[in-house]
Amino acid sequence: MINRSVYEHYIALNKREYSSVELTKAYLEQIEKKDKKTGAFITVTADGALDAAKKYDEGKCRKSVLAGIPVAIKDNICTKGIKTTCASKILQDFIPPYDAFVIEKLKAEGAVIMGKTNMDEFGMGSTTEKSVYGATRNPLDYNRVPGGSSGGSAAAIAENEVAYALGSDTGGSVRQPAAFCGLVGMKTTYGSVSRYGLVAYASSLEQICPLSRTVMDNALALNGIVGHDRRDSTSVCRKYSDFTIGIKDGVKGLKIGIPKEFFSIGINESIKTAVWLAAKEYEKMGAELVDVSLPNLNSVLPAYYILSCAEASSNLARYDGIRYGYRTDDYISIEELYRKSRSEGFGWEVKKRIMLGTMVLSAEYHNQYYKKALKVKNNIKTEFNNVFDKCQIIIAPVSPSVAYKIGGSENPMRDYLDDIYTVPANMAGIPALSLPCGVGEEEMPIGMQLIGPAFSEALLYRAGYAYENRGKAGDI
C-alpha cells in the first residue's frame, strides 16, 4: 500500500480497506528498513504520527482528503515541540515553541506528520549533501544525489516512506529534487502560502511548496496549505479555489510558449529532446505551441545570487548564540561569543554566502550590485508579463542535467549555474510546476517545468495532469 498516491489512500481509508494506523505503521516500517541508507529523515516522530493516525481512526479529526495520510516536513519548517534544525549545527538543539502556519493547517486537516527531512543547510545547495547530518541518497540510484535543497522530502516520497511532503523553494529547491527523483513539485506564487514559521533564508524569493507522486496529489496538498495569514506580511489576501476543479479539462486551445533561451544554455541534449517531445505531445492534445523570448534570462542568475546572499546575510544575523541555537564553550567577551558561535555553528557554504551577502550590501558595492539586482528582478517580471501576452503558460526544462553522482561536485560553481532554469520563477514570484517527462542518462528521470502567471496554479495543474495522464482512456 505504501506506493499509493494520496488520492488512492483517501479512497482506501474511506472504504476502510485499511486504517490510518495500519498505513502509518507500514510507512514507519519502510523508514526503519530503508532510511539508514537513504538518509531522508533527520527526525522521525513515530509516536506523534501514530497518535494522529489513531485520532483519525477514532473519528476524532476532520475527514478531509489529507486526513489520516502520512506526510514529511522539510526541517526548516517550524514544528512545535519537534526539533527544527535546518540541517545546521547552529540549530541542532532548537525546538520551536510554535507551529508554522502550514503545520497548523495540516494538523487541522488531520494529516499524519511523520517527521522532519534532510536538506542542504538553511536551503543553500542543490544536492542535499551540505547537511550536518550527512548526505541524502537518491532512491532511484543510491550513488546519486536526490537534488536539493529539499532532497530529504523528495527522497522520502521516492523511497515510499511517506505519501507526500513539504519542501521550500528559493531558487528551485522543490522543482529540481522533484525532477531528480521522478516526482511532481509546485513552486507556488509568492504570497500564496504563508512563510510564518519557515526559517528565513531569502525572504523575498522563498515559498513553502508541496512535493508528491502525482499532479492530483500535489493539487490536493496545496489545497491543504494555501491561504492568507496575517502573520506573514507578504501573504496575499484573496480567495483560493480548489486546485482540483477543472484539473481533468485538458489542454485543447491552450497556448504554450517555448522560450528559446531556455533551450540554448548548456543543456544536456537528452533533456532538451525530452522537453521538446513533451511540447509536441501537448500539440497532439490540442494545445498550440508559440515561440517566445526572455531576452535577459542570462541576467537573472547573477541577480538571484546577489539578492539571495544579501537577504541571507541579514536573515542569518540573528544566530548569535544568545537566545537560541549553538553557543561556543570558548569565549571571554560577547564579541568572541558571537564570532565563535557563528563560525563553529555554520557550515562552509552558509559562511561563504553570508560573506558574499555582506559584501554586496556594503556601501562600496550596494548601488553597483544590490540595487542593480533589484532592477533585474523587476525587469524579469516585465519580461514574463510580455510573454504571457502571447501565451498562457511556458514549457521549459528544470535542470540542465539529470541527478549528479554523490560527491561529484568538485566545482562548487556547477551547483550555482545549474539553477539557471529554476530561479526565473522565484525572481518573478510566479508559479512553476515540475513534473517528469522522460528518462535520460543511465535511466535517471528528466523533469520539465510549466510556468504560468501569478496565481495560475490551477491552470498549471490542469496542463500537468493532461500530460501525466495522456493516452489513458477516460481520464481526460
Binding site: 538543539d93 532548537f94 525546538i95 515553541p97 510554535y98 496575517r230 506580511s233 535577459n296 542570462n298 541576467s299 542568475l301 547573477p302 541577480a303 545570487y305 546577489i306 546575510s313 548569535d320 548564540g321 544568545i322 537566545r323 537560541y324 541555537g325 553557543r327 569565549y331 571571554i332 567577551s333 560577547i334 564579541e335 561569543l337 558571537y338 564570532r339 565563535k340 557563528r342 563560525s343 555554520f346 559562511k351 561563504k352 553570508i354 560573506m355 558574499l356 555582506t358 559584501m359 554586496v360 556594503s362 553597483q368 550590485y369 540595487k371 542593480k372 539586482a373 533589484l374 532592477k375 533585474v376 528582478k377 523587476n378 525587469n379 516585465t382 562548487p412 560553481m413 550555482y416 549555474l417
Partner: protein, 97 residues
Amino acid sequence: MNEKNKAEIDALAELSKLEFNKAESAVLEKELADFFDLISKVDEIDLNSSQGSDLNDKNTNVFRCDVVESSYTSAEMLANAKTQADGYITVPKVMEG
C-alpha cells in the same frame, strides 16, 4: 593570498561576525573570486530606466491592526536559551568597569 585580498576578507569577516583560519581564508579567497565573477555579470547588463526600477512602487505597505493578544510564556521563550538565571538569559559582561 595577497595583502589587499586578505584585508578585504578580514573586513567582511568582521562585519559578518565570522572568523576564518589561514587555510580557510585561502580557499575562501578563491571561491569568493569565482562567485564574484558570476555576480559581476549583473554589472554588464544594460537596463535603462524604462526596463526596470529597483523598487516596486505599485505595492503599498499593509499594516495590521494593533490588537493585544495572548503570546508565549517566559518559560516557553527561554526554553531554547543556553544559559539563564531568574527568568533572564545570561550573557558575558558587556559593560566594562
